[in-house]
Amino acid sequence: MSPRTPNSPLRALLRAGRRLLFRWRREKLDRELAEELEFHLALKRQATGDRLSRMQMGNLTMAAEDCRDMWSFLRLERLLQDIRYAARMFRRTPGFTAIAIFSLAVGIGGNAAMFTLVNTLLVRPLPYRQPDRLVRITGVFPRAAVPFFERRNRTIDVAAVSPGSEFNLTGEGEAIRIVGSAVSANAFSVLGAAVARGRNFQSGEDSPGRDGVVILSHSLWSTQFGGDPSVIGRVILLNGMHRQIVGIMPAAFAYPSAQVQAWVPLRLDASNFLEYWGGEFVPLVARLRPGATIAEAHREIQPIIGEFRKTFPYPMSRDWNRDSTAIPLQRDLTGDIRGKLIILLCSVGLVLLIACANVASLLLSRATTRRKEIALRVALGAGRLRIVRQLLTESILLALAGGLLGILIGTGALSIFKSLLPSSTPGLAQASIDWQIAAMVAGLALVTGLAFGIAPALSASQVDLAQSIRTGSQRSTAAFWTRFRGGLIGAEVALTVVLVVSAGLLIKSLYTLSEVHPGFQPQQILTVRISPNASFCTPRQACIALYDRLLEGARQVSGVADAAVASSVPLDAEQPDLAVDVQDHPKSADFPAPMLWSGAVSPDYMNMLRIPLLAGRRITVADGPKSAKVILISASTARHFWPGQNPIGKHIKDASEQDWRTVVGVVGDVRQYSLSKAMPDGIQGAIYMPYAQAVRDDGQIPAAMTLLVKAQTMNDAPARELRSLAQSQNPNVPVGQVQPLEELVAGSIANFRATIRVFISFAAAAILLAAIGIYGLVSYWVSQRTYEIGLRVAIGATRSRIVSMILGQGLRVALYGIVAGLIAALATTRFLASLLYGVGATDPLTFAAVTGLVLAVAISATSVPAWRASRIDPINSLRVD
């Protein structure tokens, strides 16, 4: 019935503010109140003649107390009290606190790191103007497609950006190899990225004669040109061509990849038939015009591609770019790593869930052992809400401490995760834990604190006063929470099984991969890349002579048994594919020129790498520039084109040349592309030409070659001598680092190995947490049932009987968890399929091994408390309660 002013929020806020102020001036208020009451008392004594009962004195104390209540900002005060109390509890149980905080920190830290990556790479918009308007047209296109698309479409502005290839930068000290991308002149304006200094490419600068310009990346500008602003306008030599530096991009610009150090115009020259229609096809990016939608662009693209296909001067397959479509550029950029990131994010999420289950279970058992204390607090007048709040404060405090430590762990984890991803990923270098992630971690900590704290708090607040105080334990309502706790641990074991099975499958994949025979022997072989400009090789004889000299010189180096050159070596990340004509296989619109992996090798190459000769003969020094053109094919090439026939004497040629080459030998298949995949999709096999007779897809002799030597000892001396030998040939020819071939092979699966290492660490964390969980659960049972066990022993149960009883109980929970985990793993491991090699997603052996492992961990975690249970002295335990 109170007629007070309605409690408007503003009023409440004002009052709260005033209370805070009052609290601040508390001492003064206390003094004033004391004086006021003193005054009151004095007057009262006067009136009654100095006779004051003790009750009246008590009234005054209560008045002061009630007034103080009125001033203090009560909620804050209680919160501080709760926190002080919680901190005291943690100090008293350091083991529990450390385990809880550490498990949470592992979970939260891993999540912070993964969220940072996901946020930077998948969520944060690209650093370009209106990034949501940028699309990628999937597939690759000849240069001719750029003006064609520009003319025909109405919804997008199209640009071409090649993925980047190596350029020689000469005349600036030691000749070096840099990565450059050829782009159409409008590329930067389509992307909406501005140069940091200088100017953008101007329209028309992609036409022949005007394309002698280059824009540098910030990193190349600072490392090679000392960050000197006056380099703009200077002319540099790239692949032997003079180009004027016109601009410098900002440091954050990383398109098409972070490895690109320079951008040059993509020459659009319709008169250069080979380059315009053939050569390296390029990816297209585009910006939606105002008002256009991605769906409209999508509808337009296929008809345009259909028309364009007909304009090709040579027949194209009807399926060519059939599935090309417009997708958001961001999705295109993250395509390869998206799956991996999401898998890792899910698994690190599982670790957090496991950590939460663990801490909840620990808190539940602690809540139970604290019944007596809580009952006492209830008896002293604490309400149920107050108890729940106290316990929740404790769990949130734990979670926040875990979150704080988690950020530290997350920073470490982030640098590991970053090393997993290809360093060319745009934006990867910028990934760091920032305040947004810190805020998210704090939120995560709060939510997890509430999530794992609510059950224990509720369980603890249901105390039966009289019984708890009398015995300190409680047997009736505890049953539900004990079962609940068993369920928690079971779920934890299940999640652990899922993670460990995933890790197991990956480990088996890695093992299978490392056991793969790559088709060659990389042992004791040193490689060094030598890359003269293409112009250096006109006439062809110049390059043939260069490599003959190098081979001759290399054989003289002490400790070198043999030497060879090859245009590419297996697993070196080059992709030398060549469109060929094959005898008996005429091209048509449906069967265009097949693509083959092509190598140019010196006679000793096959022998040195122990690539077996399966039929015919090897290449010899007699297969020189003037003799009849010959070719070696790999076993899979022979199988694909001439199944069941003798391929020796058949003919193959580069699609653009006139003369056929005769197949003289068949050699074994080699894992050229990767250890898990011998050849990229759409490539049927390999061919090898003698270097003296070789051609590339542009009709030239391959200029850049790898020199290989067989070393008798793998020490530094031959490597050093080899490099100086190569450098002494010509100062304008860049020479790479000497690298053992075995390192190249190992490096090709380094990313995969790193992914697996992270997975193993997740799985190990999960197993550790699960072991702690099971141990805690069983220890708790034992401590709760000390009386009962004592009784059993007293009436004749043997020690082994007690041990098997406790073991049985612990294992039952573990088994439920394992079964549930195996079912969950069966359902989920197929999402890993893209990472697996040579092992099924439901590999029974892995599943069995993981079951055994988790069971063994469960048994050892149970056996300690079980053993302790068997030592219970009946006399003591019966006396306790």
Binding site: M1, S2, P3, R4, T5, R15, R18, R19, F22, E32, L33, E35, E36, L37, F39, H40, A42, L43, K44, N59, L60, M62, A63, A64, D66, C67, D69, M70, W71
Partner: protein, 111 residues
Amino acid sequence: MGKLPASELLPGTLDLLILRTLATGEMHGYGIAQRLKQVSGEVLQVGESSLYPALQRLLLNDWVKAQWRASENNRRARYYTLTAAGRKQLAAERAEFTRVVGAIEKVLNMA
């Protein structure tokens, strides 16, 4: 009729009584208690343990303001006065009280 301690009043009534007392002029705590006792014919006895918390509450709500001044016997005393908001509150509480008492009366007078 015996004495009625303040704790047995209808809730909120003590605030109303204090506000009404202060409407007659500035007064210190002891004075308010004395005035209530006098005016009610010694029926309403307000103890310190109710009076001073109630005064703090009224202060917090800005319905009264307090000032230290020398009292009639030359000691420092805290004098309370009604604010404009307090006057409004007094009118509102008074109307509400009348309404409730009227309602109670109706119940008591039913046939």
